[in-house]
């Protein structure tokens, strides 16, 4: 091409010289090596973490553009735990389990501290090597209000909770919580837990993070007959939990002991008879300013509490009634598209979405702003669906979000 350009210049001199000049001007300049991107100063309101079991990281996406912004690695446990974000400290925290020889050898657990602009590791706090590890990764870690303390559920197999002081970057307490599991932040120095005897507890910390006292509620749900899942949602110090049969329990962790209210049903008797049940993994999401509850719903009947749902039922919490039903998008086309080299919005994608059944979703999350997005994933489809959380309109899908996992975390 360069050679033919020269020939052209010789043959048609005037035009040829012009062409060469333009080309020389257009030649791409050498570029710098070593550039590394940074994130904006503050987290976007529509950002989303997508943790992945097989890639062993949590990838960060912009829900508006679908672009991946970066990632933080997780440890070698079964599932990555939820990344925690402190806007006050411009830090991100992740609890990782590692072994001295890859997948074997001595176990070490760490709270890893990242700069939230550079995603570089800026510190770590070693934890007792027994941080709980589950297939879902839900309710295992939490950052308390005020961003000073992080609580980490342990299981060995009895339960306890490690408390880390982010101010001193030290572990300050291990609270014994036998018989209770999952952590539900509910204040600057308080978190709740659910217990195997149908009660809940409040764990109160002293100002330095050490245990002050544990206070237990009366027994308020049926652990065997109709248990509530630990996959709750939060508004301040109030949490909501749903039972397998669709009773919604409101529990305030705001006072000395947890105070549950009488539950109300998410399903009518008819709906229950038709087999409608809660289902999936992270099956609830909550939007505070509109007080809307989103619930993944499947028609699998008893025992389907971990099955994905084809619908997301929307409830007005103060009114205690269902106000809308969203269809889960078909995530097969956006999952296969980029791997198959076709555009999901093109012909092949259209046909796939038309022909193939909708698999439903295991997990949902909603952003907390005034124009909220509702994110959803099926645990084994590497794509995330994005809906307008108010209208239910299906806005877009984000492709290649990973291979396997049930968590969705809005930072």
């Amino acid at each position: 091409m360069r050679r033919s350009g020269k020939l052209l210049g010789l043959m048609v001199l005037g035009v040829g010289l012009l062409a060469l000049a333009v080309r020389a001007g257009a030649e791409l300049p050498p570029e710098d090596v070593g550039q590394v991107m940074r994130l904006p100063e503050t987290a976007g309101e529509h950002w989303l973490w997508v943790p992945d079991r097989l890639f062993r990281h949590s990838a960060l996406f912009d829900g508006d553009t679908g672009r991946m912004l970066g990632a933080i690695d997780s440890g070698l446990q079964v599932s990555p735990r939820a990344p925690l974000w402190s806007r006050a400290r411009n830090e991100i925290y992740n609890v990782d389990t590692t072994y001295s020889r890859g997948h074997r050898g001595e176990r070490h657990d760490y709270l890893v501290i990242y700069d939230s602009r550079s995603l570089e590791v800026k510190g770590e706090v070693e934890l007792p090597p027994k941080a709980a590890d589950t297939g879902t990764g839900i309710a295992l870690v939490g950052i308390l209000d005020g961003d000073r303390f992080i609580v980490v559920l342990n299981q060995s197999p009895g339960s306890s909770v490690s408390v880390v002081d982010l101010e001193t970057r030290q572990m300050v307490a291990e609270v014994q919580t036998a018989g209770c599991a999952a952590v539900f932040p509910a204040g600057p120095s308080r978190f709740g837990m659910l217990c195997g005897d149908g009660t809940a507890i409040n764990v109160h910390l002293k100002p330095n993070g050490e245990l002050d006292r544990i206070r237990r509620s009366a027994s308020f749900f049926d652990v065997v007959g109709d248990p509530i899942t630990e996959k709750g949602v939060r508004d301040g110090s109030t949490w909501w939990f749903a039972s397998f049969e669709g009773l919604l329990y409101e529990v305030s962790f705001g006072s000395d002991s947890p105070t549950p209210k009488a539950p109300w049903p998410l399903f009518s008797n008819e709906e229950l008879e038709e087999g409608w049940r809660i289902g999936g993994a992270q099956h609830l999401a909550y939007h505070p300013s509109t007080k809307r509850l989103y619930s993944v719903t499947d028609q699998g009947g008893p025992g389907s509490h971990k099955d994905p749902g084809e619908e997301i039922w929307v409830y007005d919490l103060p009114a205690k009634r269902k106000i809308d039903v969203f269809s889960a998008p078909n995530l097969i086309a956006p999952f296969l598209g980029p791997q198959a080299g076709f555009d999901a919005e093109g012909t092949v994608g259209s046909i796939l979405s038309f022909v193939l059944p909708n698999m439903g979703v295991h997990s949902i999350a909603v952003t907390q702003d005034s124009k909220p997005l509702l994110f959803m994933r099926h645990a084994d489809l590497g794509a995330v669906g994005v809906l307008d959380a108010l209208s239910g309109d299906h806005l877009r899908d984000i492709d290649e979000t990973g291979l396997s996992g049930a968590l969705l975390v809005v930072p």
Partner: protein
């Protein structure tokens, strides 16, 4: 949701429940399914499926390398039978965790409910074969020993999870909670 979607869902709900983590492929395969039956070579694992099953049970419910095996009613993990172990033994080089979750499953051969202990095999990474998730009587995280989400390698020397077994503890005095 289109009608054809619902049709496929009805078709594949059962298998989707049984192999929930990978259910999309089940439905995906269904799209291409017709009435024809062309000859094809045997896949090695499937070749033995017609043998007399374990525990006196015929068919898939008697095959420990199937999710449908009767003991798997509350399992969530890779089946050790497909990983170099068996339904009662870990693959070479792994360690069976002594602590575990349990299920109550009915043996179709004798109609008796048994308590099944799903001991995890630990110390090597994911086996990656015969993923199976069923949740009959499964209970949330705070009800530890009925919960199948937990990595039950907590009692082993190394907590890396490889696969899960299904060991008979004894006949159950009560049926599954949900039954």
């Amino acid at each position: 949701m289109s009608r054809i979607d619902r049709w496929f869902e009805g078709m594949s709900r059962q298998s989707a429940r049984r192999v929930s983590r990978r259910s999309w492929l089940s439905r995906f395969g269904g799209v291409l399914m017709g009435g024809a039956a062309l000859p094809l070579l045997p896949v090695a694992r499937a070749a033995e499926k017609h043998q007399v099953g374990e525990d006196g049970v015929k068919g898939r419910e008697g095959d420990p390398r199937r999710c449908e095996y009767w003991r798997h009613c509350a399992i969530d993990g890779f089946l050790c039978s497909c990983c170099g172990g068996s339904h009662t033994a870990c693959p070479p080089g792994t360690e069976m965790s002594p602590v575990t979750w349990i299920g109550t499953c009915r043996n179709p051969a004798d109609g008796i409910d048994y308590i099944i202990s799903y001991n995890d095999c630990c110390g090597k990474t994911f086996c990656g074969r015969c993923m199976c998730n069923r949740n009959e009587g499964e209970r949330p995280l705070y009800h530890w020993y009925r919960n199948n989400d937990i990595n039950w390698c907590g009692g082993a020397k190394t907590q890396t999870y490889s696969c899960s077994t299904a060991v008979v503890v004894k006949a159950a005095k009560e049926a599954q909670p949900e039954k």
